[in-house]
Subunit: 330 residues, 2 copies
Amino acid sequence: MTQPLLRVLQGETLDKPPVWFMRQAGRFLPEYRAIRAKASFEDLLRDSDLAAEVTLQPIRRFPAIDGAIIFSDILVILDALGCGVTIPEGGPRLARTLDQLDPDIELNERIFDPVQDAIRKVKAQLPEHVTMLGFAGAPWTLLAYGLEGKGSKTWARAKAFLHQEPAMARKWMDRLADASARLLNLHIGAGAQGVQLFDTWAGELDPADYRAFALPAVTRTLEQVHGAPRLFFARSGYLPQELADLPCEGLAVPWQMPMAEARQRFSASKVLQGNLDPIALLAGKETATKKARAIVDAMKGAPHIFNLGHGLVPETDPDVLQAVIDEVKK
Amino acid sequence: MTQPLLRVLQGETLDKPPVWFMRQAGRFLPEYRAIRAKASFEDLLRDSDLAAEVTLQPIRRFPAIDGAIIFSDILVILDALGCGVTIPEGGPRLARTLDQLDPDIELNERIFDPVQDAIRKVKAQLPEHVTMLGFAGAPWTLLAYGLEGKGSKTWARAKAFLHQEPAMARKWMDRLADASARLLNLHIGAGAQGVQLFDTWAGELDPADYRAFALPAVTRTLEQVHGAPRLFFARSGYLPQELADLPCEGLAVPWQMPMAEARQRFSASKVLQGNLDPIALLAGKETATKKARAIVDAMKGAPHIFNLGHGLVPETDPDVLQAVIDEVKK
């Protein structure tokens, strides 16, 4: 029997939508924090047993979850390009920014070995109904981190680079697109049955620049990915209509957009995923389940994967998440 | 002769759009920093001579600017309600949050005296073509600060309050709406010829909650303001269509939305203002003027006030701002 998440990604409408949560393998779970008390974030990236374990934790705790997203980080691609990425508590730090590197540099694919091993290990233990998901960062998001060298409030350096060095910017965007596609294909080769491309900083670019620089690279990434359905997540309050034409099966909708409007604008060509505000989970079971129900109702009759509209935050009470799962599966 | 900014707010289309900049009275100017070296932010709020001076600084430096927005802070309303607001470098801090106060508490209008005096002092020195602008914070933004007691990454407490204490939330939203309207009317009484209501945290509420809780309070504010045209700024990537029906003359468009789309959606009923990304100014004259030109072109033939789509950042080079003004006025 095909898994519910895959059936929906193939365009089927189910009475009870499949469900998974962005950042479900993470800090909101006490069992994750117990592992992190003994191992750093980088340890988890390098050790496929630990990565497999934290990937499986939410699957064990919430048996009704339909997707297992592999534990990893979008910045592994920058690490494989030679940026020297570390991820301390305060956020990622790069030893070298992309403008100090040659865009023709070879990708050190050994960096991707642990995540492939972890996918294989998770798959061996995954309940039959659960779909294995891989992921990667989108080119603009990687370029933004890669040029700033860390998180930024304004991303001013990365945004300026697109205009001050347009040829180099395009070269890097192509390089990053190819690297993202390569990583997603490696995930699929190791057993991922679906993949999501994360454009975390999509909302930081003005729409003209997003169209001119970021979207062509997203297209270039997605059209090179084969063998599994593709989801794209642009984290942005404003979603350009061109998302409807991307070479992917699904769109992850940010929480800022009413799901009914996303349906109207995109569901003719895309399966929609989302889009509960993760902060609504902090308001308690009653509010969270009411909002989850409204999202499910807005998508009734169309293929829909229930999820958040951004990642789970560490303060989330697992019991509230369980209540939301119960509501969606009611 | 009527001022260009007022003519446009009355619905007229000008060949060269009037221009002003959110946060033009602020940290990007060396002459402002010189004053702040000797006086705190709170000193400026309490001293009408200093407030008038920093309001006039950008007008002197950029003679082609068409609007002078009075130096003040959106949180003066929370101060007048008894929250005990201080504004150190790290961001605002409240001694008491709104849930510790009674929503029937009287507004201490003495707090608003300096800003009214400052408006009078600025007006006495303002070149004839420059329009005096007042402003206030919108109810949801004030409630968010008022409940959190400071800035927040998630605004979880304020967002939860709307659902956990809906009756009290509505009572406070009404109270804040009335206070905002009162302050804007005091600004107008002192000489403001136009006012802008800032909903800085509009984008933090999901659209359902923004519609249910925030928009009715915005309407309540705006419909009580008399004697000057009203602009409304919802800082949010997603703009609900209901903004078209607000009782105000103009909408300030955030930089996340293409101006052409804002025109299509809102210009039948609203004068549009905006919407250059302030970070584009950090990319240098060529990029900034090119983007400014695209915005002006997108609004050609419709009433348009050129502005940013969010406030100026401290790193802005005044020469780049001058180049943008020159481009818009070309």
